[in-house]
């Protein structure tokens, strides 16, 4: 495995870039492993990486029905932040930001983590009260957060329409300077390469079709490439979590909805931060290629179609043009949808299940990308030790029995 460095870049450039090796192998699945991860998105690959690097489990495989990063990892708007309201969530998401800060170096793969700040806009008195409450809660929890009034918002992001007579007046905004964006594909590729280098088999085009469960214990899975045995199996399949749970005879409180995004034609640098608005429902950043990356809302009915409905796009673009008048003559290049797994309290499930050896990591809903390293890190701990880490202990399936929900509808930012 080549270590990526300036030297390797120069050496390969000298040979016309003909000698680069593949970043990870394409192994045939073995008949048995010590542990399996189902789902080769960012969270699943991060889990495999940390199982190998932190817990010494290297005889493991990631089973992906399509290709690496072809699901929600490659479909999100790449926003990373940790300004959640509740103590449990702010700890979980802030730990992920800690990992993001060292990730490119750890993986020897540039994930292009850019801490350009994330603003959440307040358009009315209620928004102001709610968002300032969140800033105060964040500050008490040691999470980077500050409050900006309108003039400060205008100074921080001059292209925003802060006119008091605007259709959606901006009264103020929260700002998390430590937040930002990363290159989503690179996160999947970096973790796949890092896991592969530690001996993990990353198996693509391998769809799980059933579980082998005996006496309440999981023994393995049936796949399109044969039966694979393992005493520990972690399911990290996002929008398809309910499908997997049904195969295992379990029920989850999750509903799958399409969440859409779109990108504009590339333009010169104009937006050097991330702007989100809950109330009018749009969030925007500018990619390194110059495209505006625009997040839309979730469709309100269940779907597995990986495409959303047009009225949602229309509403989003309407809000975009009001907030950023310069976008009115911008062409949009493409739009797409991902299937997100939404929990009733807008918080994830990172948990053991009633089936021994079977673990679920799901329910990340509309905001899973930001948690990728942290999610993998705590899930690896949960699988390796057969007990949750203190960071994910509140995020069990049993919280729906006890009523100890972690309500984050405000901080989750996408109405659902």
């Amino acid at each position: 495995m080549t270590k990526y460095s300036l030297l390797s870049l120069v050496r390969n450039a000298g040979r016309g870039h003909r000698d680069w090796r593949e970043a990870w192998r394409s192994p045939e699945p073995k008949p048995s492993y010590d542990a399996l991860i189902i789902g080769g998105g960012g969270h699943g690959l991060a889990t495999a990486y940390y199982l190998a690097s932190e817990h010494g489990l290297t005889n493991i495989a990631v089973l992906e029905k399509g290709w690496i990063g072809g699901g929600n990892t490659g479909r999100n708007t790449t926003i990373i932040r940790s300004n959640y309201l509740e103590d449990a969530s702010s700890r979980l998401y802030d730990h992920a930001v800690d990992l993001w800060e060292g990730l490119s170096r750890e993986l020897n793969f540039n994930v292009m983590f850019s801490q350009r700040g994330v603003m959440n806009l307040a358009h009315n008195e209620h928004d102001v009260r709610e968002l300032r409450r969140r800033v105060h809660a964040n500050q008490l929890n040691g999470v980077d957060a500050e409050w900006l009034w309108r003039d400060e918002v205008q100074a921080f992001c001059p292209v925003l329409n802060c006119d008091p007579a605007a259709r959606y007046p901006i009264l103020g905004a929260t700002l998390q300077r430590r937040a930002g964006v990363a290159r989503h594909d690179a996160v999947a590729w970096g973790y796949a390469r890092g896991a592969d280098r530690r001996g993990v088999d990353v198996v693509e085009n391998c769809e799980v079709t059933g579980f082998i469960i005996r006496n309440g214990e999981v023994r393995g899975v049936e796949t399109t490439r044969g039966e694979i045995r393992a005493p520990k199996i972690g399911v990290v399949t996002a929008g398809h979590s309910s499908v997997m749970a049904t195969m295992a005879g379990l029920r989850l409180p999750i509903e799958s909805h399409p969440l859409q995004a779109l990108v504009s034609e590339p333009i010169k640098p104009i937006l050097d931060t991330v702007v989100m608005s809950n109330a009018v429902h749009v969030y925007v950043s500018q990619s390194d290629k110059g495209e505006l990356v625009i997040g839309a809302g979730a469709d309100l009915y269940n779907s597995y179609a990986q495409r959303g409905s047009f009225p949602v796009i229309e509403e989003t673009v309407r809000a975009l043009v009001e907030l950023f008048p310069f976008t009115s003559r911008l062409s949009m290049l493409r739009s797409w949808g991902g299937i997100v797994d939404i929990c009733p309290d807008a918080s994830p499930i990172i948990s053991k299940t009633p089936v021994r050896g079977l673990y679920f990591n799901c329910g990340w809903g509309t905001g899973g990308f930001k948690a990728t390293p942290g999610s993998g890190w705590v899930f690896a701990h949960t699988m390796a030790r057969d007990e949750p880490h203190s960071l994910n202990a509140p995020f069990t399936i049993e919280r729906f029995h006890s009523g100890a929900l972690v309500a984050e509808h405000g901080a989750a930012a996408v109405a659902h």
Partner: protein, 93 residues
């Protein structure tokens, strides 16, 4: 864009409606005997099928009345629309 036939108003566009989630969830009659897990199953757990979903819709910007729909969650094809209280039509998948 879904075109939805409201049983009272006829064919209208999707944005006039709101989806109320899974239909035919019956509140347990013997609620005093349920434990926490059984309550959680009624309140929170959902089928969320990849296939035919039976769900409730309301014509928010029209007659504001509720009805049921059988819809495929991959193709979005609407297989049946029926009034609340009418028997659930059976579809494969």
């Amino acid at each position: 864009m879904l075109l939805i036939t409201c049983p009272w108003c006829g064919v209208r566009e999707e944005h006039e409606f709101a989806c109320g989630g899974e239909a035919h969830i019956v509140r347990p009659l013997d609620s005093h005997t349920l434990d926490d897990a059984e309550w959680a199953d009624y309140v929170f757990m959902r089928r969320n099928p990849k296939g035919v979903q039976y769900e409730r819709w309301v014509h928010n910007d029209g007659c504001r009345r509720w009805f049921n729909m059988a819809r495929h969650t991959v193709s979005h094809e609407i297989l049946a629309i029926y009034k609340v209280g009418e028997p659930k039509p059976e579809f494969e998948g």
